[in-house]
Amino acid sequence: MTTYREPGRLLVVDDNRVNRLLLGHGLEQNGHIVASAENGRQAMEMLRAGSYDLVLLDIEMPEMNGFQVLEALLQDPVLRELPVIMTSASDELDRVVKCIEMGAEDYLTKPLNPILLRARVNASLEKKRLRDQQRKLFRTFATPEVAEELLQKGLTLGGKHVTATAMFSDIRSFTTITESNDPADVIELLNDYFTLMFDAVSSNGGTLNQMVGDGIMAVFGAPVFHEDHRLRAVHAALDMVENLDMFNVDRAARNKLQIKIGIGIATGKVIAGYTGTQHRATYTCVGDTVNLAARIESHTKTVPYSILIDQYTREGLPAGTLVDELGPVVFKGKQQPINIFGVGAKQENAPA
């Protein structure tokens, strides 16, 4: 059998030396890197200190038995994702069932069958690799919390009504100091810009939903609920502008292309859910509130503010927050005029 896979880093936990040798030998034959611990306490120390892909765990051990190790792993935010295969005597299957219920991935009975050992270990490693990949994928468009929610609750493609704050951000203008617009430089600029924006959104508990061209849509308060989603959105917007200012200073110093952005924020009911297929889905928000946020963002072209918010968002900010009331605006597709507020510093050279 070809072993084209990367070797797994495995930890064998067993108080019995013969069992440790046997397991270690079998696993090394399959091309894995094996470490071993002789009781649960030692295993936990090794797991916290090192990096492993899979644990093969005995139930019967002095000091800290297999149940206690499982429990400790599940309570550890980092280690709880680590797959565990229980290794047990064939006459203690009732205890194995309990371990599986607790969260162990699979089991092997001793004396070990080498074919089963190889198959179970490879299956577990493969599943872990897929999960890691999925997690990495989720994290490229979602915050770690959303990725966790998705992974723990599984993907449900249904939607629900939630009150949330939607944010749109767009690049208002490219300001060139030089005449150069090297394509590679523009792409690099966009990548840096997305990185900065993503950081501002996720560090305030928001979720980035869409990146289309140079536009970003983010939502606050869903799928992870935050009571202060309106304030978080405004903080994220201020962080975005501040990040970008610093970024521009650096770009200017290097005689490079700079950008300005406009941000529109609106609060209200949205329909939120995962859209796509079971294989490829993103968390999306739609509805009037989202449309309004987009319209408000567009409105930044006509006023000397980078950040504009609606009345409901304004009401979620602490008393004393400095905002400038810009009066009612009738947006396209809306019957009622919407009160708009400018947040942050008023720009000196106001856009036309």
């Binding site: 019995n16 013969v18 069992n19 040798l21 019967e60």
Partner: protein, 113 residues
């Protein structure tokens, strides 16, 4: 004297691994098991059923690995007595168990020499 080792189990262990590794395994078992049996005696004296059970469980597992079926069965009985907190019923079973172990040890040594 009839063999205490099931030849099929022992052969397949050898085929799955290799002779040198089996020797290493046997050496390890013959080093650890006498100590474990001694600890079982101590646990029995102290009325520590939990430790007694765990040690019996450990030897049971290794005995099965080498095909020492009788030893494994005896270990299982002792494990059950520990589990049910009936150490008072162990009596001569531990001596019989140790005697079986000694025969098994002799055979294993012969098989790996």
């Amino acid at each position: 004297m009839p063999s205490k080792i099931d030849p099929n189990t022992f052969d397949s262990l050898r085929q799955m691994t290799d002779a040198a590794f089996v020797s290493q395994l046997v050496d390890t078992f013959l080093e650890d098991a006498p100590r474990q049996i001694k600890e079982m005696r101590a646990a029995l004296k102290e009325g520590d059923a939990e430790t007694f059970r765990r040690l019996a469980h450990s030897i049971k597992s290794n005995a099965a690995t080498f095909g020492a079926l009788e030893l494994s069965d005896q270990a299982r009985e002792l494990e059950m007595l520990g589990k049910e907190n009936k150490l008072d019923q162990v009596a001569g079973s531990l001596d019989a168990f140790e005697a079986t172990f000694k025969s098994v040890a002799r055979e294993l040594r012969d098989l790996t020499e």
